[in-house]
């Protein structure tokens, strides 16, 4: 499997071991135990950990190379050797390898805003996906553009779906995506050799088929009309529904409420914060911001309201004036015409 990385920055390398290796090895052992015992998939994202070169060498020595052939953070080699590894991986399994893309791709000005090894990410993506079996866009940046794609999008960042149009593409959105969902999708591809069933946004229905709201353990409080009105009120302490404080669970489709994070320990709503729709397109630019209730509408500005009232009042006054003029004309038309004074008896004849 070939993985291509675009956005993540490698953490600052420390000269010595951090002590994380033993903990990671324990995690890997537990995950493998689970996989062998009951088929439970696990994922450990090493990119978020402050690993040093020494750590990586230690992991490499004790775990071996595994199946990750190319990963800009995880691979042991760097520089020209890393690029050679990428090209070798492409050449070794044409039409059979998967490309897992993390991050959106700057497309403005020829993609010069992000380069690796003298190539733009745009060029590297084109070259890497050319002979791929399928592409998996991991994370909301790769799937929908994410933060780089948010207004005003200075680098012209685009999601992978806008660049890869002739290959099977799976979006595993989320900011971050759920590790188990990534392994679940990979497991499906490896086990069945075909893409899982996808929704309209090309996300696997098995994980993105239901809304957070539908699976939320606080749903009962929503039904009862019990809400937290701020993050530190009685409702919040009692674990009531977070709709008032901007939870976007009803319009967000992901598996957070069922799979949760850190081996099912918790997820944002369980930790007291509303869902802010990180697995949906353009969530950074959503109307009203992250903490506006879902039902909040956009009100016209003061100038628009003033103009509406002014135009309405002018039309009303004009209509009334017209009506008054017509009534006055009708009244005048109904008046009897003035007649000449009749001569009184005894008046002298003209």
């Amino acid at each position: 499997m070939t993985t291509t990385k675009y956005l993540h920055v490698i953490n600052h390398a420390l000269p010595e071991r951090t002590g994380l290796c033993d903990a990671i090895l324990h995690e890997v052992l537990t995950a493998l135990d689970g996989l062998v015992r009951d088929g439970t998939p696990h994922a450990i994202d090493l990119r978020g950990l402050p690993l040093t070169e020494v750590d990586r060498e230690e992991l490499d020595r004790r775990l071996g190379r595994g199946e990750v052939l190319v990963h800009h953070t995880l691979q042991a080699v760097s520089g020209a050797a890393a690029e050679q590894a990428r090209l070798a991986a492409i050449a070794s399994q044409p039409g059979e390898y998967l490309v897992v893309v993390d991050g959106s791709v700057p497309a403005k000005d020829g993609g010069v805003y992000s380069t690796i090894a003298g190539m733009t990410n745009l060029q590297m993506l084109e070259e890497t996906v050319q002979d791929a079996f399928a592409v998996i866009a991991v994370g909301s940046c790769a799937a929908f553009g994410g933060l780089p794609h948010a207004f005003p999008n200075p680098t012209g960042a685009v999601p992978i779906s806008e660049l890869v149009t002739d290959k099977p593409l799976i979006n595993v959105s989320g900011c971050p995506p759920i590790p188990v969902v990534i392994t679940g999708v990979l497991s499906h591809l490896l086990a069945f050799g075909q893409l899982p069933e996808l929704d309209a946004l090309r996300r696997p229905k098995a994980f993105f088929g239901e809304s957070i709201h539908d699976r939320c353990y606080r749903r009962g409080f929503y039904e009862q009309g019990k809400f937290a009105r701020s993050f530190d009120d009685e409702g919040a302490r009692l674990g009531h529904c977070l709709y008032h404080v901007g939870c976007k669970g009803p319009v967000t489709y992901n598996a957070c409420a069922t799979l949760k994070w850190n081996r099912g320990a918790s997820f944002p709503i369980q930790s007291g914060h509303g869902c802010f729709s990180c697995s949906e397109p353009d969530f950074w630019d959503q109307e009203g911001g992250l903490y506006a209730p879902l039902s909040a509408g956009r009100w016209p500005g003061g100038a628009s309201v003033g103009a509406a009232v002014g135009v309405g009042a002018a039309l009303g006054a004009g209509a009334a004036a017209l009506s008054r003029a017509r009534k006055a004309a009708a009244t005048r038309a109904l008046q009897p015409p003035p007649t000449a004074p009749q001569p009184e008896p005894g008046d002298p004849a003209p």
């Binding site: 009309g225 319009v251 956009r298 039309l315 008054r324």
Partner: protein, 219 residues
């Protein structure tokens, strides 16, 4: 732009602007209208104007004994969907949060079960009112486009609201967008059709009461 973003943004804003402009137009055109002078002196013993206005406003809220047999059912049906609409509007939590944007504060919302029951009763009453209108030859003859359009824009927010809270067939964001669009339609039509009675019923009843009260009549 998604359908929900369009509904919450441009559609709702445009509807509110049309609503406000139309409301000002209708209200001012009626207020500034020239009143016909009534040169007749008040009948001896006629109540003061405010008493006539108040008593007629209250008295006409319930059918007079002579009409009770015919008017009681339609009156109850009308109360059912008017009050139901009001309860849904002010008791639904999403609605409260919508109003809280400009009122600055929220009030407790009703449980979903209550909202569902009130919504069902409101919709049933609206459907019954429509059936009464179309099934009676005279009422059908008297009904025009305004009547049916007014019924439609009144019923659509109830239908889409119940659908959004219950779910089914479409995703919640689509249902929410449809509900907001139905409200936009309601607001846009409000000043131009019979929905305007929501504003005009009070002054028109009061004016009728004053006019007849001056002649010593109870209406």
């Amino acid at each position: 732009m998604s359908l929900l973003a369009f509904a919450r943004g441009p559609a709702l804003s445009a509807a509110l602007i049309v609503f406000l402009a139309g409301l000002c137009w209708r209200a001012l055109a009626l207020l500034l209208e020239r009143r016909l002078p009534d040169p007749a002196p008040p009948r001896p013993g006629a109540p003061p104007s405010w008493v006539s206005a108040l008593s007629t406003t209250i008295r006409r809220s319930w059918p007079a004994p002579a009409f009770r047999a015919q008017a009681m059912v339609p009156t109850l049906i009308a109360y059912a969907f008017h009050l139901g609409w009001l309860i849904l509007l002010l008791g639904g939590t999403p609605h409260i949060l919508f109003f809280a944007q400009f009122l600055g504060g929220a009030w407790p919302g009703l449980p979903k079960g209550v909202i569902d029951v009130v919504g069902a009763v409101t919709l049933a009453a609206l459907l019954f009112a429509l059936w009464r209108r179309v099934s009676h030859p005279v009422r059908a003859l008297l009904s025009g486009l305004d009547d049916y359009l007014t019924w439609l824009v009144t019923a659509l927010p109830v239908i889409t609201g119940l659908w959004a809270t219950s779910g089914g067939w479409l995703r919640y964001e689509t249902l929410l967008a449809l509900h907001i669009l139905s409200v936009a339609l309601f607001l846009g039509w409000f000043p131009f059709g019979k929905l305007m009675h929501a504003v005009l019923w009070l002054p028109s009843r009061a004016a009728t009461g004053i006019r007849y009260g001056k002649r010593g009549a109870r209406t």
